[in-house]
């Protein structure tokens, strides 16, 4: 469980959390799961697949503001906010589970530590968003893409889905372009650049990292903002 990376979770807490998670649902790729503004009475945990938080512009351009990997709650902040300010779309076939807000409310009252851990996960999302803001504001196209590839390597590693030098990323170049505020053709050029610099290759839905230190240096990436340390929360 992702939470255990950052704090101790007792067996009792784990049991209580599992008890409020509803049975898994399978959703196909490229489906909008939650619409912007939709009133929500549940939060959703991603179990398999990749999802994206997005906003569509009037001209049809899309910005993905965060990618979600298995183990992420997609919209825990909707528990307090009651609706969300963006849409959520499946980028691959996905499996997800919901937890009703009513059940979450009960859980946080009976297990305040768990409540704080769930709160922490929304704080982690915010840190990831801030990092993206810096990337989009100040990094060039190659560095910001390198940063995203470094980040996903760590986030997927936390949930046991990445190896030391490679990980699955079943996305299109258009998806990556939408994360990075670039055109798809430009992203193709960026990926070629990373390949030619012998830093990383993205091919057939997998990222192969040839030079992790070099990729991190180009991206100015350090994993601090992902808060991988274990502390009592």
């Amino acid at each position: 469980m992702k939470l255990r990376q950052r704090d101790d979770v007792s067996a009792e807490e784990e049991k209580a959390l599992r008890a409020i998670i509803q049975p898994p649902q399978h959703i196909g790729a490229r489906r909008v799961v939650i619409r912007e503004g939709e009133p929500l009475n549940r939060s959703t945990l991603l179990c398999e697949g990749l999802m994206g938080r997005f906003k569509d512009m009037r001209d049809g351009e899309r910005q993905i503001s965060e990618l979600h990997v298995p183990g992420d709650f997609l919209d825990l902040h909707s528990f307090t906010l009651k609706r969300i300010d963006h849409g959520i779309v499946t980028l691959t076939d996905c499996v997800m589970c919901a937890a009703s807000h009513e059940a979450l409310n009960g859980l946080t009252e009976d297990f305040p530590h768990l409540g704080r851990l769930l709160w922490m996960t929304t704080n982690l999302d915010a840190a990831i968003h801030r990092a993206l803001t810096v990337s989009l504001g100040r990094r060039d196209s190659v560095s910001r893409t390198a940063h995203l590839l470094c980040e996903l390597h760590v986030r997927l590693g936390v949930v046991g889905m990445a190896e030391e030098d490679e990980y699955p990323l079943p996305l299109t170049q258009t998806d990556l372009a939408e994360c990075m505020g670039l055109s798809a053709v430009h992203m193709n050029r960026v990926l070629r650049d990373l390949r030619e610099r012998k830093l990383a290759t993205f091919r057939r839905g997998r990222v192969h990292i040839h030079d992790l230190a070099g990729l991190r240096w180009l991206a100015e990436f350090t994993p601090e903002y992902l808060f991988l340390e274990k502390k009592p929360r």
């Binding site: 055109s183 053709v185 193709n188 070629r192 650049d193």
Partner: protein, 83 residues
């Protein structure tokens, strides 16, 4: 939706599009090519150069050439200033 392949030919050589883009029609493919050029030039400008000598070559699913969009077409260069 038809799939279009937008190959980039510029100062850094030929970057082939192996994935393609699903777009409604050729007009949309041309629009996408213009966006791509502007995205690339924006980035180059931040590094201190601007190479208008490139082009994007658009092909269909069977590899047939459909149209070409030159970098120069995508940007209107002026020096008006305030006077």
């Amino acid at each position: 939706m038809p799939r279009f392949y937008l190959h980039l030919i510029n100062g850094s050589g030929i970057t082939r599009d192996h994935e393609g883009l699903d777009l409604p029609d050729i007009a949309a493919a041309r629009h996408e090519a213009l966006s791509a050029i502007r995205s690339i030039l924006k980035d180059e400008l931040s590094h201190g150069w601007l190479d208008l000598g490139g082009r994007i070559s658009v092909h269909d699913d069977n590899g047939n050439f459909l149209l070409e969009v030159s970098f120069a077409e995508a940007v209107d260069i002026r020096s008006k200033g305030i006077g």
